[in-house]
């Protein structure tokens, strides 16, 4: 049988595939076990945002739910504007002509990227809302990372 016959007559499903699929299934179950089911979720105490400057992550914004306190890093006051209503905070991060708009719900203790003009698909607006200490939203073009801070990680260091 030539190589071409071999590949032309290959079956859609071969018996040995069962072993391969069982391996893939086991791997996925293991990954869910480690990263989803086995992960202890921490309630959200704060929302922080950082940018990458000279290869290092620099925290530029923090909102603490407990104290209802907003902290903006020095040098960023012009580029971060906060609009506050009874229950929500709208934080606009400005990067030259572009921006990201983050909405924080105080009562629900969630944060979501509602608007951005960073890339074609605005991938950062497709991230699920941050609801616990392991939540994260990343805007790659702007180098902006918004993350939830859990109880154990809580130590404000913006300023």
């Amino acid at each position: 049988m030539t190589k071409i016959d071999n590949i032309k007559n290959t079956k859609f499903f071969a018996k040995a595939d069962i072993v391969v699929y069982a391996f893939v299934l086991s791997l996925i179950v293991l990954l869910f076990g480690i990263f989803v089911w086995g992960e202890k979720t921490e309630s959200l105490t704060a929302i922080s945002a950082s940018v990458t400057e000279n290869g290092k992550a620099v925290e530029i914004f923090t909102y603490e739910f407990e104290n209802d306190k907003i902290t903006v890093a020095s040098g960023w006051e012009e580029r971060i504007t906060v609009t506050e209503t009874a229950d929500t905070l709208e934080i606009k991060f400005v990067f030259d002509d572009e921006f990201n708009l983050l909405t924080i719900s105080k009562n629900d203790r969630t944060a979501i990227m509602t608007e951005a003009n960073c890339s074609f698909h605005h991938d950062c607006t497709k991230f699920p809302p941050i609801t616990d200490g392991s939540g994260i939203i990343i805007c790659i073009p702007h180098g902006l990372t918004v993350f939830g801070v859990g109880v154990t990680d809580y130590q404000p260091n913006v300023g």
Partner: protein, 177 residues
């Protein structure tokens, strides 16, 4: 490697050029589509041409196609930052495919090779992203990306199986002048 290089002829070079161009166009078109369930997640339809090349031509040609498609694709779509995640993921996934084809094919099907490669691709891409960006929270997306890999692997593998099955023999015979 050089043994394979010697087998290059005009038809083969033209054939590989067309396959690379098709992979590149698919990559660019897919980039215009919205992400699949998670930010940045894609179906990876351009991998159809990588797997096809591996089976019809060989491992060297497939590695070259994946490298050119990823580098040029990132340049064309303007997503240069994604190259540092896409290229290692593409090469690792292709290395796994090569190993499976050399050792287990045709005892296992094209679809199962594609599924394993797609899962490995997504896991590698996320691992590189976590390491480069330093955002450990992204590791929690790993199992979901593996699931998306299964879906995209089935689609890519099925497409390659259909092409191999129904394409005329003359199209697959790449060694004739």
């Amino acid at each position: 490697m050089w043994g394979n290089m010697k087998k290059f002829n005009a038809k083969k070079i033209a054939y590989l050029g067309v396959l690379t161009a098709m992979a590149l166009v698919t990559f660019a078109i897919e980039n215009l589509l919205p992400p699949l369930f998670l930010p940045g997640a894609k179906m990876g339809l351009s991998n159809i041409f990588g797997l096809f090349t591996l089976l019809v031509f060989g491992w060297w040609e497939a590695l070259v196609l994946v490298t050119i498609r990823t580098v040029l694709g990132c340049l064309v779509t303007g997503s240069l930052s994604t190259m540092m995640y896409s290229l290692p993921a593409g090469l690792v996934a292709m290395a796994v495919s090569i190993l499976l084809v050399k050792v287990l094919f045709p005892k296992i099907s094209v679809v199962s090779i594609s599924v394993v490669a797609a899962v490995i691709h997504n896991l590698t891409q996320n691992a590189v992203f976590v390491l480069v960006s330093g955002t450990r929270q992204m590791i929690f997306y790993t199992p979901y990306l593996a699931l998306i890999g299964v879906l995209s692997g089935i689609i890519v593998g099925t497409a390659v199986w259909f092409i191999l099955r129904y394409a005329p023999v003359s199209l697959l015979n790449t060694n004739s002048e």
